[in-house]
């Protein structure tokens, strides 16, 4: 059967009896069984659970927002009774006794859980290559990375192995896999979605968010997972920003400098022209501290990583600290170093002050404009193996992602087209805190204007 690529299409098909939820599950599992060995996207396949839920779905009359939607989760979301590894050998055989709030809410909204998705161990990385279970491959081109750290969350959608996925974004890890997979994704406002039951990376930066094939689908999943649960004290139940009828978008000049790939520059220039025709106004804005964002991030993040990974001692669950992979060890050491006596002020305290500057600069920009347009990454999907020997060059992949995480603002990644080599291209729209509703509005406006249609690889 031809698998539907949106939630609306899926639910219409179920209502019209074009297919049943069991048949949908069959088709997705067929594709997973056919391609997973080669592309290494799922770490755990939950076929039995999926069929059980699919049968319930076929019997149910309830109208739920995600009824019949087949979902996969980055393997750092705890799933009750289903192995959760965080991509690390430390948690190789770990079966959680409870589920993350995001997972529980997605399931309560009717979704069918089909499995757990590969990712960089502990979400440390931009290519998926730091997974202790081997890298996931990009379905658009097997030689390329699908983007990390939520590598399987992007690749599973590009390979049409499920309909929606979840990811986490500490510095681009939801946006990059969407960008490298011709997908839509949202890095929500910091504090919009509970992280309860999600393995923590850097707690002042981590955000949970959805990936899907359309703005509408990402919005639907976001509406399901957002809001407080009483278990993550950073969650703010703020009313969404009122919808605007006129938009003004800023082009941050510091984001469009040397090093940006010409095809990415071109796709963004075109998007600006398209949105202008739709009545959106554009103006140049400035974020002067942009060039320090990645340094600032690579102090704050490892510091928090070293603290969060301190609890993994193999006593209550998991294996001992010897099972940490190279990148986890590097980040634990880097974090321990910048927090250690004699270096704290020079590195950590300075980074926290630079973070303040970055926050103030974005705040100022959003007093002038409703959103900002920017690349997600400096290049289209790069080759697996290209940056693995040089951690610093890998870190610089996230140069355009850091601003949103450091200042806690939302960002919507949108697909815009393909490069000459047939690799996905896209961009991100950032907005002020809790402006998701208007980012979705802009995303829909853009996609309507280009008559966007979801596309998957591996026909």
């Amino acid at each position: 059967m031809d698998l539907p690529l949106t939630i609306k299409e899926t639910q219409r098909g179920l209502i019209d009896k074009k297919f049943s939820a069991v048949e949908l599950t069959d088709s997705y599992l067929e594709r997973i069984n056919k391609y997973n060995k080669e592309y290494n996207i799922f770490l755990t396949i939950a076929g039995e659970d999926a069929y059980k839920k699919a049968k319930e779905t076929d019997k149910s009359e309830k109208k739920l927002p995600l009824a019949g939607v087949v979902a996969g989760y980055k393997d750092i979301f705890l799933t009750k009774g289903i192995r959760t590894t965080a991509g690390s050998k430390v948690l190789e055989g770990y079966i959680p006794p409870y589920s993350a709030t995001a997972v529980a809410r997605i399931e309560e909204a009717g979704a069918i859980t089909i499995g757990k998705l590969n990712c960089d161990a502990w979400a440390h990385g931009s290519s998926g290559e730091n997974s202790d279970f081997g890298p996931a491959k990009n379905p658009w081109n097997k030689k390329c990375t699908p983007g990390g750290s939520s590598s399987g969350s992007g690749a599973a959608l590009s390979a049409n192995m499920c309909l929606v996925t979840t990811g986490t974004d500490t510095c681009g890890s939801i946006r990059l896999p969407a960008n490298y997979g011709y997908l839509v994704s949202l890095k929500p406002t910091y504090g919009a979605v509970s992280r309860y039951g999600v393995v923590a990376m850097a707690s002042s930066l981590d955000c949970v968010g959805p990936l899907g094939h359309s703005v509408e689908d990402v919005e639907t999943v976001f509406d399901v997972i957002k809001g407080g649960d009483g278990h993550d004290s950073t969650v703010v139940n703020r009313k969404p920003q009122a919808l605007k009828s006129k938009f003004k978008i800023g082009i941050p000049k510091e984001f469009f400098v040397d090093g940006i790939d010409p095809e990415i520059q071109k796709t963004i220039d075109e998007a600006i022209q398209i949105l202008k025709k739709e009545g959106v106004e554009f103006t140049e804005v400035s974020l002067p501290s942009t060039k320090y964002a990645i340094s600032c991030y690579y102090i704050i993040q490892p510091a928090e990583v070293s603290s969060n990974l301190g609890k993994f001692d193999g006593i209550r669950y998991g294996n001992s600290r010897e099972s940490f992979g190279d990148e986890a060890k590097r980040r634990i050491m880097l974090g321990t170093y910048v927090l250690s006596s004699g270096y704290y002020d020079a590195y950590y305290l300075t980074a926290m002050k630079v973070r303040t500057k970055i926050c103030l600069e974005t705040e100022k920009v959003f007093s002038e404009v409703d959103a900002m347009i920017a690349p997600v990454a400096p290049t289209p999907p790069f080759n697996l193996g290209e940056k693995t020997d040089n951690p610093l060059s890998m870190y610089l992949t996230d140069i355009y992602a850091a601003t949103a995480n450091l200042s806690g603002i939302p960002s919507l990644a949108l697909p815009s087209g393909f490069s000459k080599k047939g690799l996905p291209l896209g961009f991100q729209l950032m907005g002020p805190r809790f402006s998701e509703s208007n980012l979705f509005e802009l995303g829909k406006k853009y996609h309507n204007a280009i008559s966007y249609e979801p596309k998957v690889a591996l026909k």
Binding site: S295, I315, R316, R330, L334, T336, V338, R355, T356
Partner: protein, 103 residues
Amino acid sequence: MSKLTKDEVLHIAKLAQLGLSDSEIKKFLPQLTGVVDFIGQLKEVNTEGIEPTAQVTGLTNVFRQDRVDSANTLSGEAATGGTDKLYNGYFKVGAILAERSDK
């Protein structure tokens, strides 16, 4: 330019409870030096009079009642289910105190 020494790497590894092999030290030393050198660029930013930011929610002191919520409490079995290194239902941990040698 900051350059990490082998002794510093060993010291950090000890603080972080990581046992590193010689080949790991050899591999990590230049990689960490490269990153430390890069993040050192923050020294050129003027941060005088700027308050540090630790979090961006705008929230302060989020409290909850210190009450047992039975709907959100794991059974002893579920809570200890992640390991088979148990003794009478308790986690087994490594000794942190040694027996006196002068007795």
